[in-house]
């Protein structure tokens, strides 16, 4: 079936190239049939890529190690869930995932618009198939997931232990869904610019795809943060790692876009801005994929340097140059239809918010790429970390939160001073109360930025709460519904507005969690023997006993810790460090266990107010002489076995494998019976859970905003207004 898979990649490439030609020919010669054929090429591509992906998945699930990618990223002992998701842990599989998702979303938008925006869709189809051609070429010729070996190994290398985490398995599909969904409004923007159809129609047909891209990208980013916190063993959730930033930049740009398109829809303003934002978002999405593939910037996430760098640079160059050229070419058609009525209006708030979001994107882009630029100019690569970002991002984040609370309180077009007082009174009071209360709490005033975030977050939550309450009250005044029904109907009938408000509230909760956990964290690195204790933020943490486990797959050393406060038991935590054997036999039969991949299982007590987090780093020095001795013994035994006749050699080697397992078990046993001191990282961090809760609220709000209004309701609303306007006319 590998041959079928490879053939499908080539077929997909051929269909993509045909589709580009058919769409452009149809557009230029006015032939709707050719345009329709180009659209069907996208459907066919989706079908072909689905089959290809199914073949790859089947190979992983049946552990077919004749496929190189399966041998390199899975094993017979890999749990079925991780086998199924290992397909995208490799470069080859992830690029196939990219094309597959792109083909699915492209098929969906083209089906939905088959009778709309007919001037734009041929060009949009060509752009989407252009992306498919690029990524399809990479999979067909540079990173073939269906490459096979004539001598398949009996066992695969297994999945990278760091990736054996549910969050990390969903993280790539979420991110790639975000990236590929961004290609949709990008392509339609290109089509709109080429055809000069720059009113809001192209925005209306692609708005939901931009919102879906924002939602999936955000979920992907937060899954990555969750993985970092619970798996990587450094105690944090965001390191301003280049690959983290690569996903954040298009998300920030897309956030700006989904806000400012509302202004274009309502007022015909910000056309240049919107076109630039979505073209930048799409380009940043491809840039994000490039950063992961090329290894151009040092990162713990990157796959390592590959041969894909040059093609990506060419594609990015084409996207940037083409986007700029198109906007300059069509600048006359991008003039606004109206002007800002007042600086005290929701339009103005959106505009300021967009400036903040673009500013954040620029800062992140500059600081992320600064090492590369420095290396290119001076030959010296510098490294930058979180301290380089904070002086800029923190103030901008505070302004962003402020604006996310102000926006819901202000009407479109203009607002009077009296209405401002009425709208702002409660949320401002809530923020001030938070300020007073927090100033009375010891230590908070020493962190002014965190204090500001707490107060502004309170302001936002209060403003959203007020808006929901006022909306329910207004609805009840009309319908006399009970409060729960009025609440549901209010949201149902105004999904965009209230979905957005809920997102703002979720963002406030999340950023309060970020501010608290990063500003008031207590962290200690300690070395403990069993029975010894350490104190962190008033919690007494006792190393109770060591634990260990040894299998042919890994050996892990760990510890059971008791957490107490004020003499009362709080929690028992377990943390382990797992060592997976390397494939290189020259590292020694025993030694290869300690020279391969490692992963941490953190001990975590998550609470609404505080997280208690710990990870162990066992020192292997005390057992290194035993490891070396074991390697020597096994080396001699293996050499002796090799000199035996084949049947005896096989039997002897089987015995040696059993002896190896016994030796590894003995090392584990030594850790338990004669434990030595181990290093622990102990962290007590407030409000980390608020980050994940805020993320859930954001996702709910995003889904509400994304959910389509039933067609019948839309038609009823339209005809109701038409009748009303007809009465006015009469």
């Amino acid at each position: 079936m590998a041959l079928v898979g490879r053939a499908l990649l080539i077929l997909g490439l051929g269909v993509s190239v045909y589709g580009i030609g058919a769409s452009l020919y149809g557009a230029l010669q006015g032939g709707q049939r050719w345009v329709d054929s180009g659209r069907r090429a996208v459907y066919a591509l989706a079908g072909v890529m689905t089959l290809a992906f199914v073949i790859l998945e089947a190979a992983f699930l049946r552990s077919d190690f004749s496929f190189n990618v399966v041998a390199g990223h899975s094993s017979t002992t890999t749990p079925t869930f991780y086998k199924a998701t290992a397909a995208w842990s490799s470069q080859e599989g992830s690029l196939l995932l990219w094309v597959w998702l792109l083909s699915l979303w492209s098929s969906l938008i083209l089906f939905l618009t088959r009778r709309k925006v007919r001037e734009i869709t041929p060009y949009a189809t060509a752009v989407l198939l252009g992306f498919a051609t690029f990524f399809g070429s990479l999979t067909a010729f540079f990173a073939n997931p269906f490459a096979t070996t004539a001598n398949p190994p009996s066992e695969g290398a297994g999945l990278n232990p760091l990736l054996r985490h549910a969050s990390m398995m969903f993280h790539p599909p979420m991110l790639y869904s975000g990236y590929t969904l961004l290609a949709i409004p990008f392509a339609f923007a290109i089509g709109a610019l080429i055809t000069r159809r720059l009113n809001s129609e192209w925005i209306q047909v692609t708005r939901r795809f931009a919102l879906a891209a924002w939602l999936f990208l955000g979920i992907g980013i937060l899954l990555g943060a969750r993985w970092s916190y619970t798996e990587l063993g450094w105690g944090g959730y965001w390191a301003w790692d280049p690959v983290e930033n690569a996903a954040l930049m298009p998300w920030l740009c897309c956030t700006a876009f989904i806000h400012s398109i509302m202004i274009q829809e309502k007022r015909g303003m910000l056309k240049v801005w919107n076109a630039s934002l979505i073209l930048a978002s799409g380009t940043l999405a491809v840039l994000g994929t490039f950063l992961v593939r090329s290894g151009i910037l040092d990162s713990i996430h990157a796959f390592g340097a590959s041969t894909l760098g040059v093609p990506f640079v060419i594609l990015l160059g084409v996207m940037v140059t083409g986007s700029v050229a198109l906007i300059i070419w069509r600048r006359a058609d991008l003039r606004s239809d109206s002007q800002l009525d007042s600086l005290l209006s929701r339009e103005a708030v959106f505009l300021f918010q967009n400036l903040v979001l673009v500013g954040m994107t620029f800062v992140i882009f500059w600081v992320t790429f600064f090492p590369l630029i420095s290396e290119a100019l001076t030959g010296t690569k510098v490294s930058v970390g979180p301290p380089a970002f904070r002086p800029f991002i923190v103030p901008l984040a505070l302004v962003l939160v402020l604006l996310s609370g102000v926006g819901p309180l202000i009407a479109w077009r203009r607002v009077t001073a009296a209405n401002l007082r009425r709208s702002f009174a409660f949320p401002v009071a809530a923020g001030l109360v938070a300020l007073v209360v927090l100033l009375l709490v010891g230590g908070v005033s020493k962190r002014p930025f965190a204090l500001a975030m707490f107060c502004l977050g309170t302001f936002v939550i209060a403003s959203v709460g007020q808006e929901l309450w006022r909306g329910v009250r207004a609805r009840r005044a009309m319908t006399r519904d009970p409060v729960p029904r009025a609440f549901l109907q209010l949201i149902r009938r105004n999904r965009r507005r209230y979905g957005g408000y809920i997102v703002h509230a979720g963002l406030a909760v999340l950023l309060i969690g970020v501010a608290a956990s990063s500003s008031f964290q207590h962290s200690h690195d300690v070395v403990l023997r069993p029975g010894q204790q350490a104190v962190v933020d008033g919690y007494r943490i006792t190393y109770v006993r060591p634990i260990a486990r040894a299998t042919a797959e890994k050996i892990s050393f760990g510890a059971v810790l008791d957490v107490a406060k004020g003499g009362r038991h709080v929690q028992t935590l377990t943390t382990t460090r797992g060592f997976y054997p390397a494939q290189d036999p020259t590292l020694g039969v025993v030694g290869r266990f300690f020279n391969g991949e490692e992963e941490s299982q953190v001990g975590l007590r998550a609470g609404l107010t505080k997280d208690i987090w710990t990870v162990i780093s066992p020192d292997l020095t005390p057992i290194q002489p035993l490891i070396n001795q074991g390697d020597q013994v096994f080396l001699k035994a293996m050499s002796a076995a090799a000199a035996l006749p084949p049947a005896q050699a096989r039997a002897q080697i089987t015995n040696l494998f059993a002896a190896r397992d016994a030796a590894i078990g003995a090392l584990a046993d030594r850790w338990v019976r004669h434990p030595w001191a181990a290093e622990f990282l102990l962290i007590v961090s407030p409000l980390v859970t608020w980050i994940w809760l805020g993320a859930i609220v954001i996702a709910i709000g995003g889904l509400i905003a994304l959910w389509p209004v039933p067609v019948l309701a839309r038609r009823r609303a339209t005809s109701a207004y038409a009748a009303r306007l007809a009465r006015e006319l009469a």
Partner: protein, 93 residues
């Protein structure tokens, strides 16, 4: 066997992609660019009217401000409806 599977898939792809080219008769007419633009503008204007009403009901707009904005929005909506009627009549003609 693999070769047969690939051939079948290829045939299916060619069939699907070439279907519009084998079609007899004209495709369903599209509403026209101007009409599509006006319909999109109409939907956006209705949404603006509803937003203004909601802003008024939730106290973000005073009665005077709401009346002024609502009047302006409805006038804009009427212009769009008139333009839409004209475009449809012209297309039908």
């Amino acid at each position: 066997m693999d070769f047969v599977i690939v051939l079948v898939i290829l045939a299916a792809v060619v069939y699907v992609v070439s279907a519009p080219l084998r079609r007899t008769g004209e495709a369903a007419p599209s509403p026209g660019a101007e009409i599509a633009d006006l319909e999109a503008a109409r939907e956006a204007k209705y949404r603006e009217i509803r937003d203004a009403e909601l802003d008024h009901r939730t106290g973000k707009l005073s009665d005077d401000d709401f009346e002024a904005i609502d009047r302006s929005l409805r006038a804009e909506a009427i212009e769009i409806l008139q333009a839409l009627d004209g475009a449809k009549a012209e297309r039908a003609g």
